[in-house]
Amino acid sequence: MTGPSQSSSSGAFAARLRRSYIIFTLSFVVLILVLGWQESRGLPSQWVGYAFLLSTVCLYAFIGIICRTSDAREYYVAGRAVPAFYNGMATAADWMSVASFMGIAGTLYMTGYNGLAFVMGWTGGYVLLALLLAPYLRKFGQYTIPDFMGARYGGNMARMAGVLCATLCSLIYLVAQVYGIGMITSRLTSMSFELGILIALGGMLVCSFLGGMRAVTWTQVGQYIIMLVAYLVPVVWLSVKHAQTPVPQVAATRMLPTIDLLNNEVLRDPGEIEVRALWAARADAMQARLDALPQSWATERAKMRTELHVLQAQRSSWVDIRILERELANYPENALAARDQWIKARNTYRARAAPPTAQGPPFPSADSEARALQQRNFLALAFCLMLGTAGMPHILMRSYTTRSVSGARRSVFWCLFFILLLYSLTPAMALFVKFEVYTQLVGTRFDELPIWANGWSRLDVQLLDVVDLNRDGVVQLAEIVLSNDMVVLALADVGGLPYVVSALVAVGALAAALSTADGLLLTVSNALSHDVWFRFWSPSMHAARRVLISKGLLLLVAFLTAWGASRVNASILALVSAAFSFAASSFFPALVMGIFWKRANKWGAISGMVVGLTVTALYMSLDSTFMRHTLLHLPLDAPSLLWFGIEPIAAGIFGAPAAFATIVVVSLLTPRPDPATNALVDFIRYPGAGMPPSTTESVSDEWADTSR
């Protein structure tokens, strides 16, 4: 219960917060209006980008400076004083990664109904979080998730297993965020990818380095506001433009049948049919090469060399010779590498030859078997993401920052509410971009392409590639490749909105990447400093020194991640999905069993996490060349190894049940947990329960720390 003086002080605090964030929102809106006005008066778009980037990064740094702290409780858990409403908003920002902000609309654009597995998966997990984990972690009331593992399962081994899992899930996710930051800053200011990463990292570090969780929480609330404005402005604008209503969801409902009609019209266009046939021919040629492996590897290379000699002898065009020379330089080193490269090429050509996915109908396929497979994959991905959501350590950590157990529950409610505010706009975004592409780009002559199309192609052909395959001078849908990540970033450009709106969207995406990266950085550095350094190596360390070490580790992890991101060669969505699969198969089973099954013990939890992670990692690599050829010695043309046809993106759906089963079996085969552990579980389960009897060193240490 809060006393009268405490509740009046918390009321004053809430009023101060409300006032601060209203001023923050108004200032941001004024900034947009001023930059928009300046743009209309001739300010170059690059300057608009710089102004947006600098002002927001400086703002984050400013919050970091005013929230700086060396107090362990403030640094690790924001003093456990964040009201549920603001904690929900900060968690929503923590959650809205660059994959959520940019990837969902892009996936919906590409895959229609099937992409909704991401929307359902990333929202349905919050039910698990609210019902099964958040209130109990808050009742436990420590600093990190490995803390819970150490106390509940006893000893450093369980804690270290927790540290390893937290670091693995968070680092993979962090690399994806930092990669996204580099992409956005280079788009916003035209600077190099690596420089963009360094500048954004600077802003992020000033915030988390100086103020830890306290600074990160209040920055994330501001970042959520920026994300919401960045989503709302272009979507509402386009909604009014296309459907004369400011409610994007209503506009999208009206436009869905039109888009499916346009889709059908495009499919009947002779030019479109011709281009798709050309892609199909290329896919067949690639398949013929694959069928003739390993001989085709040598014959194709010899053919290309002969062709090059002929071109050189005929003194053909310099461009043609250079293209062939480059192809030869990139020619696969051996038959194995050729298999990988040619399978990729064949799949790309097949995808481009296939008719575009209709936006509305679920599981579109003429074949009932393929339809059933799509249904299975939809369910598997949605459940995998749900379990992963409930097991992501940077989201679980936010349960510690609320004032009370009920506050932790309310915080999850507000978090999902704020996430839904943004997610409910993504289907509309996907539909608006699709409508613009179908009506503005398809059918245009190549020499009359819009400026934005040329601009994005020049920046990176992987983002947008338009190629005249049938050389008729007219753009067909099958001649356009639009990257998933492009859909949101290009929304304003495609819709013909001013550059200031484009920059606003990029700043929103940057806020999404930075907010998640901040949370992940803290998760990793706190796990290393608190659980490894303090709990394991130096338990007598002073709190201030612990914070100092955490800050040092934070710097180290940030730079290592930046280095990793500059070398990564995977899509953001693939990295993020891997992180969710690992979280689903490691933390989620161990935490849930720790709370709901008293018989679960250390050996069960550790072996469950190991088995869960191993099954997930193995399934992810099941179709890779290394696994198939080097380990399993399968022939090159052996069929796919996937179980029930489930794609590796949902690998956690196999890892999680394996982990649950292992925890049960191993726990039953090994000794029961001691009475102190049972008392701890009772304490966590009952809201009014007092401290448990501290009979083990580990547990007593935890509670002593809580009371400080």
Partner: protein, 70 residues
């Protein structure tokens, strides 16, 4: 007290499971308008996530009512 909490959780998780599986298995019925005349796309995009929020809201309400009881 713990038992009642478990019952709440079991009921709400069953509803959650029913929503997830139902959205996928009944997609054709939604699409044809046989169920509530809605399109499958909108059910999965808007109604499923909103129902998750409602489930959490119901749990909050149940726990608050539960705490007030003597």
């Amino acid at each position: 007290m713990w038992r009642r909490n478990l019952i709440y959780i079991a009921v709400l998780l069953s509803a959650w499971l029913g929503i997830n599986v139902g959205v996928v298995l009944l997609a054709d019925c939604f699409e044809s308008g046989a169920v509530a005349g809605r399109r499958a796309y909108w059910v999965a995009a808007y109604w499923a996530p909103v129902s998750y929020l409602a489930l959490i809201g119901i749990y909050l309400w149940l726990m608050r009512t539960h705490r007030r009881q003597p």
